[in-house]
């Protein structure tokens, strides 16, 4: 690693830490029902949330509507926040994904499912330094590269799980493959990604 790379890495780390600290302040202000705080939250995550929702619903007008609903959901649940410190990004992303998937499922007549643990029924929790880096630009580039490296079948099951909210049984029906094959592909795909992105979790 040369000097310029090291300096860039340090600056990126500092930026990530500062951003996470800022989120702690934002949590406190959102809890006080400060509309300006929601504006700042939007400035931080609005583009990402819009992009995610657009990716899922593939319709600009509906994506705009769902972004608004997602931020309103954050706003309405902000009084339940427990931690002063903690990145809001993953929580806001989860809420946005649930909103978008609920919409898609309602179109397809499927029942609504919710992700757990960082579900919008639970307030965001404090994250360690590594976890705070997840939305860092460098990290996201690594994720994109890792997904591109997956085989077509492995990438397909990841897409269906993350951006279409399909269960493994639903995936098997969708692409007419045996459930066992889907399970194998999913397990292999996640293993590859964990290994590629190991720095996130360790």
């Amino acid at each position: 690693m040369n000097w310029s790379t090291k300096i860039f890495f340090v600056v990126a780390m500092a930026a990530a830490v500062l951003r996470a600290a800022g989120d702690g302040d934002l949590v406190a202000r959102l809890r006080r029902r400060d509309p300006e705080a929601l504006g700042e939250l939007y400035d931080r995550y609005g583009r990402l949330i819009y992009s995610l929702i657009l990716r899922i619903v593939a319709n600009q007008a509906i994506a705009e509507e769902l972004v608004q609903e997602s931020f309103l959901r954050v706003w309405n649940r902000s009084e339940g926040f427990q931690e002063e410190r903690g990145s809001l990004g993953p929580w806001v992303l989860t809420i946005a994904r649930n909103q978008a998937l609920d919409y898609v499922r309602s179109l397809e007549g499927r029942s609504s499912k919710r992700s757990v643990s960082v579900d919008d029924t639970e307030p965001p929790v404090a994250m360690n330094a590594a976890e705070e880096r997840i939305l860092d630009g460098i990290q996201l580039k690594k994720v994109r590269v890792a997904i591109e490296r997956l085989s077509a079948n492995h990438r397909l099951v990841i897409e269906m799980a993350y951006f279409e909210g399909l269960s493994q049984t639903e995936m098997a029906e969708r692409i007419s493959q045996p459930l066992g094959t889907i399970k194998t592909w999913t397990r292999m795909a996640l293993k590859s990604l964990r290994e590629e992105l190991g720095a996130v979790a360790s």
Partner: protein
Amino acid sequence: MTHDEARELLELYQLGVLDEADRREVEEHLKTGCEDCRKALAEVAAFNASILASVPLVEPPPRVRDRVLAAVTPPKPRPKAQPHYLPWMAMAAALALAVWLGNEARLKNEQLIVARRQVETVTTERDRLNSALTFLSAPETRPVGAKEDIAKPRGLYFVNPQSGILLIATNLPVLPAGRTYQMWLIPKGQAPVSAGLFKPDVRGGAVHIQPGAVDVANAAAVAISVEPEAGSTAPTTTPLLVTPVAGI
């Protein structure tokens, strides 16, 4: 389900896309209090978020931010709009005031007209009564049945058990300085009781009322006498116009 089997499904579990049977088994395993899985779950949340965040970034239109903020910001009067509204509001207020004042003036005017009418009525009534009393208390006036004797003092008493005694007198002698007429009610077998002080006009005419209940049944007579200015407890001069009260 072993720990390794559960760990392999944690990403899908966190995403909420596990099939029902798998989801139940993962939850059973988490309930055993597996510390590794509990820690892993936080890592999995971050891992999943980073995959969700890896989507190609698209800039949303600025209106999205406006709509988000508008939804949580209480509506405020826009400052730019104020100079626009203010003259209209002032005009509306002035118009309302003018209407109100006009209404008030109209009401006041109506009240004044009513009051004037009342005064006119009262004045007419008073004039009518005055002329009647003047007529009655004039020296030349006499009951039709009485003899014409202009110079003689004359009086007509009216009695009402509830309202009192009224005297209409004419030709009363002019009072010396420091003197007044006093009316008396004389009960049967008792000393006279004062029934008020009065002074006649320059022509000797007087209308005097002593208000209050009168024990007419026990009254023997009414009379007047000339008394000192402050009145007396009993007549000190010879009573005039002594008139018996007829029994019921």
